[in-house]
């Protein structure tokens, strides 16, 4: 009993407050459907969550020093896998969902093993074209994907577990929790990676690739790991997207979506693996919806880009909205940071 109590003695109580305050939104997210069943709010949160998962994958790949514009491609692969398995082949829904992530991951691993060898700008261009290639395959492979007509997806079957009766078709609430679970799992996995040794290995590859290689870090192995993980979760996100919208077609996962994912990561903060993409995707998704109501054609993309540029100008050095958080805390505590003192050199004794 005393040993158990001792754990609390060594807990970092002073730094507890930021974590407590950060836990509040998490609890709010869990309880939102209790307070509002409004379709608009839930719709917005579900779609923000789906894009957040894709954006987290982008940031993970970025953490290894590569810039992937192919996340939308893996969403498409996941979405189509789930739709084809459940609708065309009649598989049980949850197996189709599971396979969507697995198939996306396998394809990511195969393509990554080849394409990540070149790295750099060539890799980015190839992932960009990959997005378009997947779209074209979806359009032309009519026998499987029904081409431009798209597929109408079947929703998950009702779940009846004792007192629990979940009907996915009734309203958005079940999809909300499904998305929340996916966001949470993705976030926890990526956060754990960032926190431990592998995250340091990734960052070493980003900070100085040559030095990392000479310190024994096998570049390809870790690049492929990051690319595959990003692909797996993007696949799951794509499957939820396709099933929530009840339709999948080649038009919904294209070049613009890949770029949007990149912008969500940038605006949220490229230095953050979990919270940044979530904030970035929520902000940009809401912005996108509001802007698309404007009557002038093309203005939404223009203003969208303008917002991204403004964020890049006003929040310096690869930081994004997420970095406002420590700034706020610093103002509250008035701590003096030791870091950026220009020109100071070591005092020689």
């Amino acid at each position: 009993m005393n040993v158990w109590l001792n754990r609390f003695r060594t807990y970092d109580w002073r730094n507890m407050w930021p974590k407590v305050v950060a836990a509040v939104p998490v609890i709010i997210f869990l309880l939102i459907p209790v307070f509002t069943q409004g379709e608009i709010v839930l719709n917005m949160l579900i779609l923000s969550g789906i894009w957040a998962v894709a954006a987290m994958g982008f940031t993970l790949i970025l953490r290894t020093g590569q810039f992937s514009l192919g996340q939308a491609a893996f969403m498409a692969i996941g979405g189509y896998t789930c739709a084809i398995l459940t609708v065309v082949l009649g598989w049980p829904w949850w197996w189709g969902f599971l396979l969507s992530g697995i198939v996306s991951g396998l394809i990511a691993m195969l393509i990554g093993s080849v394409v990540l060898r070149v790295g750099g700008i060539y890799f980015s261009i190839i992932t960009l074209s990959l997005t378009e290639v997947i779209r074209i395959i979806a359009q032309q492979w009519e026998s499987v994907t029904h081409g431009s007509r798209g597929l109408i997806t079947t929703p998950p079957p009702n779940i009846d577990l004792g007192p629990l009766h979940i009907n996915f078709m009734a309203n958005s609430v079940p999809f909300y929790y499904l998305t929340l679970i996916l966001v949470a799992v993705t976030g926890l996995v990526f956060w754990q990676i960032g926190k431990t040794r592998m995250g340091g290995t990734f960052y070493a590859m980003l900070a100085n690739q040559t030095l990392a290689e000479h310190e024994g870090i096998h570049l390809m192995r870790y690049r492929v790991i990051a690319f595959t993980l990003a692909g797996v979760f993007a696949g799951f996100a794509g499957a939820i997207y396709a099933n929530y919208l009840t339709v999948i077609s080649p038009l919904i996962f294209g070049l613009w979506q890949s770029i949007q994912i990149m912008m969500m990561s940038i605006v949220g903060g490229m230095s953050s693996l979990v919270a940044g993409p979530i904030i970035g995707s929520t902000v940009l998704y809401i912005l996108g919806i509001q802007l698309s109501r404007l009557p002038i054609y093309g203005i939404s993309q223009l203003l969208y880009g303008a917002v991204v540029v403004l964020v890049l100008i006003f929040l310096p050095k690869g930081t994004g909205l997420i970095d406002l958080w420590p700034r706020i805390w610093r103002k509250i505590y008035r701590e003096v940071e030791d870091y950026e003192i220009p020109g100071e050199t070591r005092q020689e004794d």
Binding site: T196, R197, A207, N208, T210, L211, E213, E215, D338, T345
Partner: protein, 254 residues
């Protein structure tokens, strides 16, 4: 079978031979100096040994294993670690962060074990952090452990470069002009540390221009000129050989 063996190693860039038919052996535990005027191929030689370049001809073997076909990270895993003449460091990270990122080779636990944060990994991690702090203390960097490398003076940044190489558990340390830009005291400090490192059993290959440093610490010296080896032996003897003097200073014209 020598510890580290270079056989007729040649590196051509187009028609230019940066290194031409260089052969020598390195014995375990020695401090081998590599000298020569600028452009003689010293850094290219280090690049070849560390795997950054592949030799056009010839082979490099370490403990009987042919390493000239391996990747740099595979060669580092075998125990050959280098520093860089231009002193590459990890940007924007604190000293302890850079050291931890460089100490990947000190771990025996797998990546999955580190992801799951198993007890075995946590224990190993504690040991590695201890080693890192010890290395920082050895090289007089301990006071700046939590500060970014940019606050260090040039001399201490080069010490950090050596520290990062030590973090990778080397059996052979390849130092590329470690005392560049250092004053007398800093260079002496480097010399002391090279001796300490060598006493721990690490073989050292040292490219140097500073003759005082070289004569103080090297047990043997190889002299390169225009990509070829022109002398190999005792440091004091080498420096007085006419070929070596000619390589550095040229011949007298009448």
């Amino acid at each position: 079978m020598a510890f580290l063996e270079l056989d007729d190693v040649t590196k051509l860039f187009g028609k230019l031979a940066a290194v031409e038919d260089v052969s020598f052996n390195v014995d375990q535990g020695e401090v081998l100096g590599i000298v020569g005027p600028n452009g003689s191929g010293k850094t290219t030689l280090i690049n070849l040994i560390s795997g950054y370049y592949k030799p056009t001809r010839g082979t490099i073997s370490f403990m009987g294993k042919k390493i000239s076909v391996l990747r740099p990270d595979e060669i580092a895993k075998l125990g050959l670690v280098r520093t860089f003449q231009s002193n590459v460091l990890y940007e924007k990270t604190t000293l302890v962060q850079s050291m931890l990122m460089s100490s990947r080779l000190q771990y025996k636990t797998s990546d999955i074990e580190s992801f799951m944060e198993t007890k075995k990994y946590k224990d190993e991690h504690e040991g590695v952090v201890g080693n890192v702090l010890q290395t920082l203390q050895l090289l007089d960097l301990f006071n700046e452990t939590f500060r970014p490398a940019s606050v260090l003076s040039h001399g201490y940044q080069r010490m950090l470069g050596i520290a990062l190489a030590l973090a990778a558990n080397p059996k052979v340390l390849l130092l590329d002009e470690p005392t560049t830009g250092m004053n007398y005291e800093e260079a002496q400090f480097v010399v002391e540390n090279i001796k300490k490192i060598n006493e721990q059993g690490i073989t050292v290959l040292l490219i140097e221009h500073n003759m005082k440093v070289l004569l103080d610490v090297a047990t043997r010296v190889i002299v390169l000129s225009f990509g070829s080896k022109i002398a190999d032996g005792n440091p004091h003897e080498m420096m007085n050989k006419p070929e070596v003097i000619e390589a550095y200073l040229g011949t007298e014209t009448v």
